[in-house]
Amino acid sequence: MKENKKTYWKGLEELTNEESFVKNADREFPEGPSNLDGSSRRDFLKLMGFSLAAASLAACEAPVRKAIPYVNKPVDINPSIPNYYASTFASGGDYASIVVKTREGRPIKIDGNDLSPISQGGVSAIVEASVLSLYDKQRLSDPMMNGEKVEWAALDAEIKSKLMAAGNVKIVTNTILSPSTEKALDAFAAAFGDAEVITYDAVSSYGITKGAETSYGEAILPTYHFDKASVIVSFGADFLGTWISPIEFAKQYSKGRKISKDKPYMSRHFQFESNLSLTGANADYRTPIRASQSGLAVLALYNAIAKKAGASTVTGAAVEIDYLDKAANELWANRGKSLVVSGSNDPNVQIVINAINDLLGNNGSTVDFSTPSYFRKGDDSKMNQFTADLKAGRVGGVIFYNCNPVYDYVKGADIAEGVSKAKVSLATNATLDETASLCQYVAPDHHFLESWNDFNPRKGHYSLSQPTISPLFNTRQAQESFLIWAGNDTNYYDFLQDNWRTTLFESQLEISGFQEFWDRSLFNGVYAMPSEPTALSGAADVSAAASAIARVYKAENSSDELVVYTKVGIGNGTFANNPWLQEMSDPISKATWDNYLTVSQSWAADNGVKMFEGATRKARITVGEKSVLVPVLVQPGQAKGTFGLALGYGRTKAGRVANGVGVNAYELLNNANGFTAFELTEGVSIQLTDDTYKIAQTQTHQTYMGRDFVIQEATLGEYKENPSAGRDFPKVYKDGEFVKPSKISLWKGHKYSQHHWGLAIDMNSCIGCGACTIACQVENNVSVVGKQEVLNRREMAWIRIDRYYSSPEGASSNKELEQAADNPEVIFQPMMCQHCNNAPCETVCPVAATTHSSEGLNQMTYNRCIGTRYCANNCPYKVRRFNWFKYHDNKEFAAVNVAQNDDLGKMVLNPDVTVRARGVIEKCSMCVQRIQAGKLTAKKEGRKVEDGDINTACATACPTDAIVFGDMNNPESKITKLLQIEDQGDAASKEVNEERAYHVLEYLNVNPNVWYFTKIRNKDKSEA
C-alpha cells in the first residue's frame, strides 16, 4: 500500500466533490433520451408496430445492387486487398514520413514510416486526421478567376500576361521543405524578373533561427537529441505537443523515459511555463511562471551555470523561481548530456539559451547546430516589410503559395487590405479560405495525397511523397503551375526526377542505375545522404542579449498577461475544418469544439467563477485596440496572473465544420519588437462578463466514482529500492484468510488455445498526445457527434485518454482547493475496452450481443444488440458508448460527421468495419478486423502468426511506443517479454512477473487483458 496517499481528480468538480456532481456522476448516461423530432414513447411503440409490418413488406422487393468491375483492372489493385505507399506529410514545416494505406485506390489510413530517422514511425493526431481533409467538400473543384470557374488554359494565359505587366512579384509562403519546389520557384522567379519569395510561419520560430544567426552565423534550427539528454530543461517549449517537430521529440523523449529493471534510470525533466502544456504535464518538476519573467528566468539560469563554469555573469533582475537552482545544479552535473530549450520567439532569449548550452557542452551532443533542421524558415522581419509594402500598394503581383496570412499572420488585416492594391493577386490554396477568397485568381493545388514532391527536413535527410489517388478535382499541382507560368512545360514529376538525378543520384556511388535509385527511395519513402557538418563560427555574445532581455522582461508585473499557444489537435488552424480534430478532446483541458481563456484557480476564486460541467462565463480580452469575448476555463496549473488562449480557431472561411468555432487569437498578437510575440505582457486586460457559456469538456464524463488504485505511481528512488513500488495489492477475505481477488471467481474461466491477445500500456511512456484516439477513429469509423452531443456526454470515442490531476490530499477548504489546483501533478491513462476475462458486460446482456471469444476478445455484435445499455451500466471502466442517434446519412449530423454523411467524406471509411446504426452499443474491438486479416494472411501462407504481423491502430500510431499489442500465448512476442509471462498453456488468467504491471481496479477481479505499467516520476521525493 502507498504510504503517502494522493487524491486523483479529473476535474475541479470532482476535486471539490460537490453534491450535484456526485448525483450526476453515478449515472452512466446523465440525461434521458432526447428526441430530435419531439415524439413520445407511445409514438415509438406505434412506429415500431408499423415499421415491423413495413419492413416485412419492403423486404419482399430487395433493392437491386450493382457490381461494377473495372474496364481495365490495374495489376496491383485487388478489391479488398490494401496497398501501402510510402509518402510524406508536410504542412508548412510540420513534417512526418508516412505510409498511406489505400483500399480500391482510396487512401483511408495514415501510419508512420518506421524507416524515417526523423519521425521514426510516429505520427500525431493531425497527421492521422489529414486523410480526411483530402475528402473535404470545401476543396475547390476548379481554378477560379474573379470568383468564376475557368479552364486552366484560360487562367494560365491570363496570369502569364498580367503578371509580366504587373512587375515586382512577391511569392508568400510558409516554410518550404522541398528542394524541387524551391527550384521550380526559382525558375518562376527568374522568368518574372526576380520575383521574391517571402517565407513566414504561422507559429514562428524566428527567435531560434535569428538567435542562431547571431550566435553562430547561420539562420538555422539545430537538431535536438532529447534521447541523449539526462536532464531536460524547457522554458515554455511544448516540444512533446506542438513545438517544431513534436513527433520526433516525443520519440526521443520516450527513449529516455522508458524504465525497466535492466535500465533503472530515466531523464529528469524541468519545465518552466505559464500555461499548462502537454510537455509541462509530463515534466518531473514544473514551475508555473509569469510570461514577463520568462526571459529573466533564462538569464538567472545562465548566471547560475556561468558561476559554476567560471564564466562572466550578466546583469538581470533577480527572480524567485522554484526549482531553478535545482535545475542549474543538475544541468551542471550532467554537462554534455543535458539540454535546455525555450519556446520563446524572442531572439535574445534564444541567444542566452545557446550560451547556456555552450557552457554546458551540449552543443554538438544534444543540440546539434552542425546538422541544421529546416522545419521553420520563416523570417518575421522580411514578412513585416512585405506587409508594409503590400499595404502601401508597392507590390505589383502577389502570389500566396498554400498559405493563409490573412488569417494566421499577425498583421492579417493589413494583408487583407493590401491584396486589393496589388495589380495581380493569386493563391494556390486548395480552398477558398480567408486569403484565397480575396484574390483575383485561385489556381488550386492538389492535396498532398495527390501530389509528387520531395522534402529535405534536415541536412542529409530527404523524403518523397507520391500520389495515392488520382486527383479528385480539376486541380493542378502548384509546382507545375509555377513551371507553366514560367514557360516550362515539363511536368512536375519529370522535373522532380531530374532534380534528384542531377543532385542526389550524382552524389552517391552505392547504386549505379538511376531507376533503381529512384525506385528504392520511393519505396522507402526516405533517403539519407551522408553530409559534411555545417561549419559554425563564433560564440554567442550574451551581454547584448542580456541587456535587451533586462529591458523587456520584468520581475514584477501587475498587469494581466496573455500567453497564446497552439493545441495539439488544431495546431495553427490549417486543419481546422477537420471534425475529427475539432472533436478530439484537448489532452489537458479535455475540451472539444472551442478555444477558451484558460485562467488560474486563484483568478477564478477572486472573480467568483465556478465551472461546473463546462458551464462557465465569458470574459472580454482587450489587447490594445482589439478585443474579443471568450469563455473562460479554470485550468489547474495556470500561472497566476497569466491567461492562455489557443490559436487555430475563429476561422471564418475554412468550411462548415470550423467556421465560427472559437475566436481568432492571431488578431491579438503583435510584432512590435521585430518578431511575432506569442507572449503578451503589456496592455492586456481581462474583464469577466455576465454572459454564460458551455464548453464541451469530456473530462468528467466517465468517472470511477472514487474507486481507488486506477492510477498507481512511484518515484524513481522508490522504484529502485522496490520495483513494485506504488503498486496496490488488493486482498479479499475468503475462508479465514485474505487472498488475491483472482483466487475467487464464479466462473470456470476461458481457455485460449491458440491466441491470447492483450495490450500492455506503459504510463511512463504515454505523454497524452492523443494520436491513438484519432488513429482509432479513422480505423474504426467512429462517429463525430458535434458539440451539443458532447455536452450531453455522448461522444463516441473508443479510446480516450484519461487525464488525472493529483494533489497530496483531498481539498476541503477553498484555500486548499486553490493550492491543489495551483500546480498539480498530471498523469495520462489511455482507456479503452479492457477485454475482461470475467467481463461484467457479458453476463448482463439479455440478448447475448456481447460475448467472449476463444482468443480473449470481448466481442460486440451490433446486429444483435437491442440497446438496453445494461452492459454500459455494468462496465466498471465506462468504455462502452451508445449510439443515441443514427449519425450516418442524417442531415442533423451532416455538418459535423462528414465522414459518414457526404459522398466524398464516405470515401475515407474503412470498408472492413461496420458503420453502426442507431440504438446499439459500440466499443473497442482491439481492432478485430486487423487480427482477422493478420490470421488469414498467416493461414494462406501456411505459417504461424508472427509477433508484429498484427498491430492495433492505437499501438501503431503511438509516437512513444507506450501501447504494445500482442499475443500473450506467443513466448516470442514483445508483450510476453514485457510482462514477463511464463508459459501457462491456455489459461485465460495469466500470472505476470513484471512488478510494474497491474490491472486497473484489480480488486473487482474482472481480469482484463489490458495491463498498465506504473508511472514512475523522476522526483527526489513524492510530492504534488
Binding site: K66, N72, Q859, Q929, Q932, K935
Partner: protein, 407 residues
C-alpha cells in the same frame, strides 16, 4: 446394341490416333504430369485434347506435324506464319486468323513434357466423354426415376381405397346378417344407431382440435415467411450481358479462378473486368462458330471502346453487418465454388443457390472439418484436439463466435 458397336468403333479409331504419336514423345508419368500443369496454365483456355475448341484438338499433333515444327509453332506461331510456312498458314486461316499468344518462356523440356501430356495424358477424359453418350441411354435401366414413384404411390392409393370398399361391404353384410338374427334390446339399439355428424362437429373437443390446428398452421406459415424476409434464394436477375456460365464453365471447362481472380487472395472473388473478357473475346467474336459479332459480345467491345464499365447486377448480397472472405474459404479451407454457389457450370443465368442466412453459415461451420494438413497455423490446435474422438471442425476453433463475421 447398335450404339455400343459404334462406340467400340470410335474407340478403335481413337486408339489408333493415340498410338500414332511420334515415338520421340515420352509417355512417362512425370512428363505427363508436368505437361498437364503447363497445359492447364497456358493452353486450356483455348485448347482441348480431343475436342475442337477455340483452337484445334491437339492429340496427335506430333503425328500430323514434326516435333520441331510443333515446338516453334507453340513458341511463336506468328513468326512461323510470317515466314510463309505452309502448314502454319493453313492452320491460321482455318481458325479465322486467330492469333495464338507466344510462349517463348517455355523451355525445350517444358515443351516435350507438354507434348507428352497432349499425346498420352488424360485418356480417361476422352473415354468418359465418349462414354457420356452411352451413359445417358443406359441410365434408363438402373434406379427408380421419380415418375415411377408417382405411379407406385397411385397404385397404393387405389389398393387402399379398394380395401376400404371391401371393409364397407363386409360391414353391411355383417349388419344384414345380425339384423336377421334375434338380438337383445341393447344390441339392437347399438345396431340401429346412426352416425351423428352434427354432434361430432359441435363437440368441444373437435372445435378445440380444429382451432389449435388452424392457429398452428397460421403461425407456422407466418414464421416461415418471416424467416425468408431478406432471403433471396433463387434470385436470378437479368444481367446486362447474357453471359452463360453453362457455356464458359460447363462446356469449355474454364477454371473459375481464370475470371474470378480475387477468390484465393481476398475478400471479393471479383467480377472480371472487361480486359479479362478480352483475353479470349479479342478472338472469339461469336458463339458456335457463327460469323459476325454476337450482339452480347459486342457489349464487351462497347464497354472497352467507351471506357464504360459493365454494370452487372449483384446476385449474392450479404448484409453490410457480416464479413465474408473468399480467400479464407477457398484458399485456406479448400472449398469448391459449387459448395455454396451450386451447380454454377450448369447455369445459363446465375441464380442464388444457397439461402446465405446465418443459420446456413453456422450449419456448415458445425459440420466442416478444418483443412489443417500442411498448414502450420493449425498445428497447435490439431495437437490440442488430438485427444478428442471427433475430427477438428470449424466450430472447435471459434468458428461460431460473433466476431468472426461481425465487426
Amino acid at each position: 446394341m447398335k450404339s455400343s458397336f459404334f462406340m467400340m468403333l470410335f474407340f478403335l479409331l481413337l486408339g489408333t490416333q493415340v498410338f500414332a504419336a511420334n515415338p520421340e514423345v515420352s509417355d512417362s508419368e512425370e512428363a505427363i504430369a508436368a505437361g498437364k500443369s503447363i497445359f492447364n496454365a497456358n493452353c486450356r483456355s483455348c485448347h482441348r485434347l480431343d475436342q475442337k475448341n477455340v483452337g484445334p484438338a491437339l492429340r496427335g499433333v506430333t503425328d500430323r506435324h514434326s516435333i520441331d515444327w510443333t515446338k516453334s509453332f507453340i513458341r511463336n506461331s506468328q513468326v512461323l506464319i510470317a515466314s510463309g510456312d505452309a502448314e502454319a498458314v493453313a492452320i491460321y486461316n482455318e481458325y479465322n486468323q486467330l492469333v495464338m499468344p507466344a510462349h517463348e518462356f517455355l523451355s525445350d523440356d517444358d515443351l516435350m513434357n507438354l507434348l507428352a501430356y497432349i499425346e498420352y495424358g488424360d485418356k480417361a477424359d476422352a473415354t468418359a466423354a465418349a462414354e457420356g453418350g452411352g451413359g445417358v441411354a443406359a441410365s434408363g435401366g438402373g434406379g427408380i426415376p421419380s415418375e415411377y414413384l408417382t405411379i407406385i404411390l397411385g397404385v397404393l392409393v387405389v389398393v387402399l381405397l379398394l380395401i376400404l370398399v371391401v371393409l364397407g361391404l363386409i360391414i353391411s353384410v355383417l349388419t344384414k346378417y345380425l339384423k336377421s338374427q334375434s338380438l337383445e334390446e341393447d344390441d339392437k339399439e347399438f345396431l340401429s344407431q346412426k352416425f351423428d355428424f352434427k354432434k361430432l362437429v359441435r363437440s368441444d373437443a373437435f372445435l378445440i382440435i380444429i382451432t389449435a390446428l388452424v392457429i398452428a398452421l397460421v403461425a407456422k406459415t407466418a414464421l416461415d415467411e418471416l424467416y425468408t424476409v431478406g432471403v433471396q434464394q433463387g434470385y436470378a436477375p437479368k444481367q446486362p450481358i447474357a453471359f452463360s456460365h453453362q457455356l464458359h464453365a460447363g462446356q469449355y471447362e474454364m477454371e473459375c479462378q481464370y475470371c474470378h481472380t480475387g477468390v484465393e487472395i481476398g475478400k471479393s472473388a471479383n467480377i472480371p473486368s472487361a480486359n479479362i473478357c478480352m483475353n479470349c473475346h479479342m478472338h472469339i467474336q461469336n458463339v458456335g462458330g457463327k460469323d459476325g459479332i454476337s450482339p452480347e459480345i459486342a457489349k464487351i467491345y462497347a464497354a472497352v471502346d467507351n471506357n464504360q464499365p459493365i454494370e452487372w447486377v449483384r446476385v449474392h448480397n450479404l448484409p453490410d453487418l457480416s464479413y465474408f472472405n473468399h480467400a479464407q474459404h477457398v484458399a485456406v479451407g479448400g472449398l469448391e465454388c459449387q459448395t455454396c454457389h451450386g451447380p454454377i457450370e450448369e447455369m445459363e443465368v446465375v441464380y442464388q443457390h444457397s439461402s446465405l442466412t446465418m443459420g446456413w453459415c453456422i450449419d456448415c461451420h458445425r459440420q466442416t472439418d478444418i483443412r489443417a494438413d500442411g498448414n502450420e497455423y493449425y498445428d497447435k490446435l490439431v495437437q490440442l484436439h488430438s485427444g478428442s474422438k471427433n475430427s477438428l471442425k470449424v466450430k472447435d476453433i471459434g468458428g461460431l463466435e460473433c466476431a468472426k463475421c461481425h465487426y
